[in-house]
């Protein structure tokens, strides 16, 4: 907007303003009514849905699904959509940081005098696109069910090794299923594909020591499962055995 457009806007605005009504009581009455509606909705939600409390936090046992509050789903899903691991940094903070910077600076790069949404097609369409994308990602996140099951059968090579190997395989499988690994990893047909790499054939790709090292010292955002606060030794080695048997 140049100086003339600014002055035109201010003149126009002062006419519209002088033809309006006083803030008190007219706008205050509307705001008050809306405020009552908001409080009524909150009270109704609280009565109908209550406030649940899950099992107590426990750093050692791990029946959890790392699910954020629903309005963060779109961020979490973004991690999943922009998949290749080298892009993860871009997806998590890169895209949100970029979006925040664009949001902050909006009034400084969109300086046209036009305000009508239909006569600002680029801004309006971008806005609608962002809303749809966020709604879609939230929907995806809401339907990424809590992945706590795993139905991979023990492969023939493990069965051939006899009973202890088979039971260790199944112990590892259930620990993996209950430790939330599948929130980030796809294993066979279980879990979510991303942000972590698929683990279906992880045993082919890296040796057991490397798997153990990853569990103790993972690259973020994967949490660490080793060390003093992590899985007990028996469960830990079962997980490593289970993963290295996936070939």
């Amino acid at each position: 907007m140049n100086q003339r457009e600014k002055e035109e806007y201010l003149r126009e605005y002062s006419i519209l303003k002088s033809q309006g009504k006083p803030f008190f009581p007219y706008a205050v009455a509307k705001d008050g009514l809306m405020g009552c509606l908001v409080i009524a909705i909150i009270i109704a939600l609280s009565i109908v849905l209550g406030a649940e409390l899950g099992p107590k936090a426990n750093a050692a046992t791990t029946t959890y699904t790392p699910r954020p509050e629903w309005y963060f789903f779109f961020l979490f899903e973004l991690l999943r959509v922009i998949k290749p691991p080298n892009f993860v940094g871009l997806a998590t903070i890169g895209v949100p940081t970029l979006a925040m910077i664009l949001l902050f600076l909006l009034p400084f790069y969109d300086r046209g005098p036009e305000r009508h949404p239909l006569r600002r097609p680029v801004a309006t369409l971008t806005g609608i696109f962002v809303i749809c994308a966020m709604a879609y990602l939230t929907y995806l996140g809401a339907n990424a069910g809590p992945p706590t099951e795993n139905d991979i059968p023990a492969p023939a090579a493990v069965l051939a090794q006899g009973k202890p190997a088979v039971s260790e395989f199944y112990l590892g499988r259930s620990v993996v299923a209950q430790s939330g690994c599948e929130a980030c990893h796809l294993i066979g047909s279980n879990g979510n594909n991303g942000p972590g790499p698929e683990l279906t054939k992880i045993g082919d790709r890296i040796p057991p020591q490397a798997i153990a090292r990853t569990l103790v010292n993972p690259t973020e955002p994967m949490p660490s499962y080793g060390g003093s606060g992590g899985l007990p030794a028996k469960q830990f080695s079962a997980v490593v055995a289970f993963l290295s048997d996936l070939k």
């Binding site: 907007m1 600014k6 806007y9 201010l10 126009e12 605005y13 006419i15 519209l16 303003k17 033809q19 309006g20 009504k21 006083p22 803030f23 007219y26 706008a27 205050v28 509307k30 705001d31 809306m34 405020g35 908001v38 409080i39 909705i41 909150i42 009270i43 939600l45 609280s46 009565i47 849905l49 209550g50 409390l53 899950g54 099992p55 107590k56 936090a57 426990n58 699904t65 790392p66 699910r67 954020p68 509050e69 963060f72 998590t92 890169g94 940081t97 925040m100 909006l106 400084f108 969109d110 300086r111 036009e114 305000r115 009508h116 949404p117 600002r120 939330g180 973020e220 955002p221 949490p223």
Partner: protein, 268 residues
């Protein structure tokens, strides 16, 4: 100094001169005495603070023609914030930020034993969702109405800060019940933060209070959640509303000003 707007009192309620023929020195009725006392109390405060000018300026300014229900979304957000503040105070009376089990126990106690505890906790929990939805709706309204343009750029920037602060509230509050869900979601969330460019690792170290998730992490989240960010939000809302009163809210973008009829005639 522009003239301050007058109080919009309907003519019916304006003080009437006594009807002709009534006595001057008639004793005043109790109602009149009460009104007089109220007035002199207000005068007493105003003599010492000069607040009345500011109040008149903020309350009796005009809002432009065509202001509709979309314009209530901002104050609705503020109501949701006040709801969080009030219910939060009651929760803080019972909550203990003790990662050793005290936190979980205190929330369990609030939920199961405190009178109306679950109700207040529910209002706080669902109020947060409502507030987030309202912030986004309000932002959408100002975006589609082009309300971020001259001269309201700064108010948009303050708004984005409020948006970030609101999301920070939800993120830090989610950990406090210290159940499995909140614990693990927060670990992953802080780790995601850590992957960010430049400040990422420092930010997640600051949030955790060290390289590892520990007992201090919970008290850190607690103080951020109930002191730091709410204070910042309150201050920012103050600045936001000052600018709203100063600049006036926009008129809907489809309205064009028609000059007053008197002015049109004058131009002929």
């Amino acid at each position: 100094m522009p003239k301050l707007p007058a109080v919009p009192i309907p003519p019916r309620f304006l003080p009437q001169p006594p009807p002709p023929g009534t006595q001057r020195g008639r004793p005043r009725t109790p109602l009149e005495k009460g009104a007089e006392a109220g007035k002199s109390a207000v005068d007493w405060i105003d003599e010492r603070t000069s607040l009345s000018g500011g109040v008149r300026w903020a309350l009796f300014r005009k809002v432009p023609k065509g202001t509709n229900w979309f314009y209530t979304l901002g104050s609705a957000t503020m109501i949701a914030f006040l709801n969080q503040a009030v219910t939060g105070v009651f929760l803080a009376m019972y909550y203990r930020p003790d990662a050793g089990g005290g936190a979980y126990e205190s929330v369990r106690y609030i939920t199961n034993d405190v009178f109306l505890g679950q109700f207040v906790r529910g209002m706080h929990k669902w109020g947060s969702s409502v507030m987030v939805i309202l912030v986004f709706l309000h932002m959408g309204r100002t975006f589609f109405f082009g309300a971020y343009k001259y001269p309201r750029e700064l108010n948009w920037v303050i708004g984005v800060v409020l948006l970030i602060l609101t999301m920070t509230m939800s993120f830090t509050g989610y950990l406090l019940p210290f159940d499995q869900r909140s614990y693990w979601a927060t670990i992953v969330g802080v780790n995601i933060n850590g992957t960010g460019p430049l400040l990422g690792p420092y930010l997640s170290d600051f949030l955790r209070g060290g390289p590892e998730f520990s007992a201090t992490t919970l008290s850190r989240f607690y103080s951020i959640h109930m002191l730091l960010v709410p204070g910042a939000i309150a201050a920012m809302i103050g600045a936001h509303l000052y600018l709203v009163a100063k600049l006036g809210t926009t008129a809907p973008p489809w309205l064009r000003a028609k000059p007053e009829p008197e002015l049109v005639e004058e131009q002929l």
